[in-house]
Symmetry: C2
Subunit: 216 residues, 2 copies
């Protein structure tokens, strides 16, 4: 079942296994960005990585899991998590990196395709959630929780809900409204709305945690 | 090409044409909720409505357009737009009606399937945008603009961005995170976050439009 490759077969030591794993992930991501889901097979990934199909299946239970892990691997480096000490800057930087990726690279098309298939394929739906959405969300939640600990965000807000209102806004544009392209200005607007709120008028009893002007 | 039906053929007057149109839409929506996209064809819709396939194609350029218009027709009555005079109440009511529909009826599965196919089918993607997303968004934008005119929302916020941050949050749960089920509490949380903001601390110069406490 194994495919020969220019890189040759790996040994069975721990370090070698990690390396094979990483090369499979890289191959999966590269193939996905090049061919989309239509051209994505476990066989092709195994051949590209110089690994056997059995090895690939040992680590990834399904084609969907491999696709999302591969996608995540090749785009991860573009989605670093800054820690400037200012939550508005950190959120804006993270969202703009995502928006840039969706707008200016093939990753946007591929992610749309992966999420699209996930709506009609239960196996891919599980992979989307476990291999992509939740790990990605966790990074953003970490940023929000750090800001809570620093007192920059209200302690009573639910970080998962904020992820939905910031990342969800971008995904909504990407998947549903198809409004032309995601812009840096859009990110600025949604972060500001989220931080400051959209309501006029003085704070009320409902605004626990927001201090009125002049109280430091 | 026409299919006989229990309802019989329609006349050609203006009122009759409107009626045929409405019955085709109803049939399309009913079929979709019953069979999903797998069992959805123009032929079946025409037969159910007692119309010809030619008539259906005259009004709907594609199967996707018919599917989204049909979906919109059968769920529209459950998504009325309240006008209580209080924007928080109106937004919460609209979002809860949607959340209820997604969680407690087959509409959620069908909408996921339609949006899923739209990611990999350009014709369905256009239909999603033009026949579903933009008309639905417009209703919500109307509510937001009304609240701006009443001075309940800041005049400088972009209503389309707010739609993304409220509806987008719900769609993100539905399509991406797959977090178990959309709840009324989730809606309460995201509306409150949106109106009040999540930041601590006193308003800054960036908060134009928010008046400090004590100034009426």
């Amino acid at each position: 079942m194994s495919s020969p490759s220019a890189r040759g077969r790996r040994g069975r030591g721990r370090r070698a296994a990690d390396q094979v794993r990483q090369e499979i992930l890289q191959a999966a991501g590269d193939l996905l960005l090049e061919s989309g889901m239509a051209g994505f097979t476990v066989e092709k990934v195994a051949a590209l990585a110089g690994a056997s199909r059995v090895t690939v299946h040992k680590w990834w239970p399904s084609k969907g899991a491999l696709a999302f892990d591969g996608y995540f691997t090749v785009v991860a480096s573009t989605l670093d998590d800054p820690d400037t000490g200012d939550v508005a800057t950190d959120l804006t930087t993270q969202l703009r990196a995502f928006v840039h990726l969706m707008r200016d690279t093939r990753a946007g098309l591929v992610l749309r395709e992966l999420i699209g298939h996930a709506q009609i394929d239960p196996e891919l739906s599980t992979a989307l959630r476990e291999r992509y959405a939740l790990p990605r969300a966790q990074r953003f939640i970490d940023t929000l929780e750090r800001a809570k600990r620093k007192g920059q965000l209200r302690a009573d807000v639910n970080s998962e809900d904020i992820v939905c209102q910031l990342w969800g806004a971008c995904y909504f544009q990407l998947l549903v409204t198809g409004r032309p392209p995601l812009t840096d200005e859009f990110v600025t607007s949604i972060v500001r709305n989220m931080l400051v709120g959209i309501r006029t008028g003085p704070p009320t009893a409902d605004d626990a945690g927001r201090r009125p002007a002049g109280v430091s």
